[in-house]
């Protein structure tokens, strides 16, 4: 009955893949979950583009033009979009670069950095353009659910997915989540 499975897409934008690793911490519980869900576009499947999906899980904030393109593809294809983890919700650790001008960051890394040879700021046309500031997902698209944590625990993922699989609204009670 694969046709009735809930279709999930996942991606990591300006994140560290920690949320994805934590998702996989479900370990053997993933086997039971896979009886009810199938993965579409995701680093777990290596599928490169979204088909229409039921749930999109997006890790990381927005630091470049490609992140925005991917996020818009997710929003256009996913009935329910979940911002997973601190970076997706408020920019997180990558947003610490917002304390500095973008040029300052690039010069620090590629011109003045320790051990840099042939200093130059990369400008290949294939590289996505960096945004002036790292932004949360909700600055660009409507987000349906927020799953805080750095990362959210495997139990957090299971709980929100279980609720959604049952067709319920996801509820994350007060004092049941962490931002760190």
């Amino acid at each position: 009955m694969t046709t009735t499975k809930i279709r999930i897409a996942t991606t990591s934008l300006a994140g560290c893949f920690g949320c994805h690793m934590s998702f996989l911490d479900m370990d053997e519980r993933l086997v039971a979950l896979l009886e009810h869900v199938e993965f579409n576009r995701s680093p777990l499947t290596d599928i490169k583009h979204c088909d229409p999906c039921d749930i999109g899980l997006v890790e990381g904030g927005l630091c470049n033009a490609e992140n925005i393109k991917v996020l818009r593809e997710f929003r256009a294809n996913c009935k329910i979009l979940i911002a997973m983890g601190a970076c997706a919700i408020n920019g997180g650790v990558p947003a610490m670069r917002n304390h500095f001008d973008l040029r300052e960051c690039l010069e620090e890394v590629y011109i003045n950095g320790t051990g840099v040879e042939q200093p130059q700021i990369p400008n290949d046309t294939e590289l996505p353009l960096l945004l002036d500031k790292v932004r949360p997902l909700s600055d660009v698209v409507q987000v349906d659910y927020y799953l805080p944590g750095c990362p959210p625990s495997a139990n957090d993922f299971l709980r929100i997915l279980s609720q959604l699989l049952e067709g319920k609204q996801a509820v994350i009670p007060a004092n049941s989540f962490h931002f760190d």
């Binding site: 911002a83 601190a86 919700i89 408020n90 920019g91 997180g92 650790v93 947003a95 610490m96 917002n98 304390h99 500031k133 932004r135 949360p136 909700s138 600055d139 987000v143 659910y145 927020y146 799953l147 805080p148 750095c150 994350i172 009670p173 007060a174 004092n175 989540f177 962490h178 931002f179 760190d180």
Partner: protein
């Protein structure tokens, strides 16, 4: 006849001179608060303790208790307003919990947990404010300051010093250090001062201590802000030590 007020239908006794907050805490009723600390003069600036008194919104920490008051506190409407206030405090400053040494010990974070605040709703400001790392033992990161004024009052009222003040107005308001250079190193602040230790967020930190207790075993990993808030008071010993 005893002086009594009613909070969420519960009648409690108050003493003359107590505020609604004083009376509530004495009766073990929690009214959310960030800028209030029992033992310091109330300031009424964070607005988390807003309660409904006869149809009017008032700050519980600054409003005197008066016999017969009917007060609503723990209502969905007030908690929603408190969540919005907390979200605004988050986005106006730099509150990236995973990178902050105060995480787990932070009252702003614990307030968000208490109110069930999953996101910040508003677009973040990502402000750039001056960091003062001049002092060998104490760090001041203004980007995390919520202008609660607790350090200002603790320094003046308990430590017997006058290390801090709030300068500027509106969005330009910021914490300043009363020293010739404006730097902490030239002030008379000490690590043991209440002003150093009372910061509810990660704006004033004691250096080289932040990770002695690991994340996951910190104050609000073990207790809720309600439990902590009902226990807090400046001990007579602290007051006496600083006399």
């Amino acid at each position: 006849m005893q002086n009594t007020i009613i909070i969420d239908g519960q009648e409690i006794i108050f003493k003359d001179g107590q505020t609604i907050m004083d009376a509530a805490l004495a009766a073990k009723i929690y009214i959310p608060h960030l800028c209030h600390y029992p033992g310091l003069t109330p300031h009424g600036n964070c607005k988390l303790c807003t309660v409904n008194l006869g149809g009017k919104s008032v700050s519980a920490c600054t409003t005197p208790a008066m016999s017969g008051q009917q007060i609503s506190n723990n209502t969905a409407e007030l908690n929603e307003a408190r969540t919005t206030v907390t979200q605004m405090l988050f986005i106006e400053g730099d509150h990236i919990c995973p990178s902050c040494e105060k995480t787990g010990n932070c009252k702003l974070q614990a307030m968000a947990y208490h109110l069930g605040m999953l996101d910040e709703h508003f677009s973040p400001f990502y402000p750039r404010r001056e960091i003062d790392a001049s002092h060998p033992a104490i760090l001041l990161d203004r980007s995390r300051c919520i202008l609660c004024d607790l350090c200002v009052r603790a320094s003046r009222e308990i430590d017997g010093k006058n290390v801090f003040a709030i300068a500027g107005r509106g969005i330009a308001a910021h914490l300043i250090v009363n020293s010739s250079s404006g730097k902490l190193v030239d002030s008379d602040i000490d690590v043991s001062d209440l002003a150093t230790n009372i910061c509810p967020v990660g704006a004033i930190l004691i250096k080289e201590q932040s990770y002695t207790i690991p994340i996951g075993k910190r104050i609000y990993d073990q207790q809720t802000i309600v439990e902590v808030g009902l226990q807090e008071a400046i001990s007579e010993k602290t007051k006496h030590d600083h006399d």
